[in-house]
């Protein structure tokens, strides 16, 4: 039996490339904004580019509850970019909006001495034993594009450096998050998505 991955569409950016990468890996993915579909999914991916404020839609539409309930019952969850930032408590970008709070801490803007957004290929400093990063060595390059960053926390399995260190990937039980775009990070990114699909 194949597993079904729900790619959550909350009208924040472009999901074409995430879906395309999953198709390339022969994974069965459905792009959806329907909480009922999310509630039945085997795995959930929450992509997201753009503004943290856009995540407010998740609470308004019932997607937040559907994701929380499904994740509590053990479904692997992968947040990408703003999707990962949403796993923290909050973001300086939209202070009034609560994240899921799965990780303690607040996402903050890059310091003024570096250009923002942080755009391009940066290297990962990986921690041993990550399931998401299996087969991806420290020093691998991945593609980032973001103006806010999540702090390094206990769940951090990969750090990157740009005007200070930040969380590039987090992992805690069945919860995973990446600040970079695996669907745009060449063979390294595809390997990461393959690892997630194989969980």
């Amino acid at each position: 039996m194949t597993t079904m991955i729900a790619v959550v569409d909350f009208r924040a950016g472009n999901l074409t490339s995430v879906k395309k990468a999953l198709e390339h890996l022969s994974a069965e993915a459905v792009v959806t904004s329907d909480p009922r579909v999310v509630a039945k999914a085997d795995k959930i991916i929450l992509p997201g580019v753009g503004h943290f404020a856009a995540t407010a839609v998740l609470a308004e539409t019932g997607l937040r509850t559907a994701i929380q309930e499904r994740v509590e019952r053990g479904a692997p969850f992968l947040g990408v970019c703003v999707g990962m930032q949403w796993m923290f408590e909050s973001s300086e970008e939209a202070p009034g909006i609560a994240g899921l709070g799965l990780c303690a801490g607040r996402c903050e803007r890059f310091p003024e001495r570096v250009k923002s957004p942080h755009v391009g290929w940066n290297s990962l400093a990986c921690r041993e034993g990550s399931r998401l990063l299996r087969g991806i060595p420290s020093g691998s390059f991945v593609y980032f594009t973001h103006s806010y960053r999540a702090p390094v926390v206990a769940a951090t399995v990969a750090r990157s450096e740009y005007g200070g260190e930040f969380s590039a990937a987090i992992e805690q039980g069945n919860l995973f998050g990446v600040q970079f775009h695996p669907e745009k990070s060449g063979t390294i990114g595809l390997k990461l998505l393959e690892n997630f699909c194989a969980l």
Binding site: N14, T16, K20, A21, S116, G120, K184
Partner: protein, 264 residues
């Protein structure tokens, strides 16, 4: 460490890749989908596809070309050329572009930058600026070019009277995520990027600047990163015709102390 990016550009008309030397004398260098994957495998950090079709008939194939090119491409993919509205941008995003590049339409209606950025995020909006040194006659006629560079539109055929640096700054304020800056004086010459132009824009802005026009030997790329403060460099013809393997360029740049994604 954040690396400097090497971006391969495919100039496309009617679904085929061509490359102009100083915007003219086009030569056919093949299929965009095939070339994009080949460049990606060779080590390109991003692909830019610019539609330079002169006619609407030829431009009608753009969405299909983008779809075919995006299919097997898993690095950032930008599409530009002739995008005039939010609807046209949406069609290109739907076909698989990660970012769009706008030029003439942004100068004609700068609010277009904001409307695309609000829908897709600033990271998805590149404002392309074709700039030319405003020295000699042009400068005496256009005293407002304190930066010394004038922005052009319509594939470099029409002067706008806008100072390139001032326009870049406005584009940033309106929501552009990156600037693609082409030196018309250097485009297609291989004689080196215009480092002075690149530096002027890069230092005036807080968003990444992609230098274009004039890329040749490794030294020209070292110069644009070190002296021009470029965040990325774009080139087309030097890759397509095998004058230089992308991997060799990246290795040599790395050896020269420029941070590169290499090997990749």
């Amino acid at each position: 460490m954040l690396t400097k990016r090497i971006i391969a550009c495919l100039d496309v008309t009617g679904g085929r890749v061509v490359k102009g030397v100083q915007f003219e004398q086009l030569r056919d260098a093949g299929d965009p989908a095939e070339l994009a994957v080949a460049h990606s495998e060779a080590g390109a950090d991003e692909i830019v596809l610019l539609d330079i079709s002169a006619t609407n008939e030829k431009r009608a194939t753009l969405a299909d070309t983008v779809r075919r090119t995006a299919r097997q491409l898993f690095i950032p993919f930008t599409v530009g050329g002739g995008i005039r509205s939010l609807d046209e941008a949406m069609a290109v995003f739907d076909a698989g572009a990660d970012k769009i590049s706008i030029n003439s339409a942004a100068l004609a209606d700068p609010s277009l930058i904001t409307s695309i950025a609000e829908r897709y995020g600033s990271q998805a909006v590149i404002v392309a600026i074709d700039a030319k040194r405003a020295n000699g006659e042009a400068q005496s006629e256009n005293a407002q070019f304190d930066g010394g560079f004038e922005a052009y539109v319509s594939g470099g055929r029409k002067a706008t009277g806008r100072d390139a640096v001032a326009w870049a700054r406005e584009a940033e304020q309106r929501g552009a995520g990156e600037i693609l800056l082409t030196s018309m004086d250097r485009d297609g010459t291989g004689a080196g990027f215009d480092c002075e132009l690149t530096r002027a824009v890069s230092e005036a802005l807080n968003i990444p600047v992609i230098a274009s026009g004039g890329g040749g030997d490794t030294r020209t790329f070292v110069d644009v990163f070190q002296q021009g403060s470029a965040d990325a460099a774009l080139a087309a013809s030097i890759f397509h015709f095998g004058l230089r393997a992308l991997g060799d360029l990246k290795r040599e740049l790395q050896e020269a102390g420029i941070p590169m994604r290499w090997p990749c």
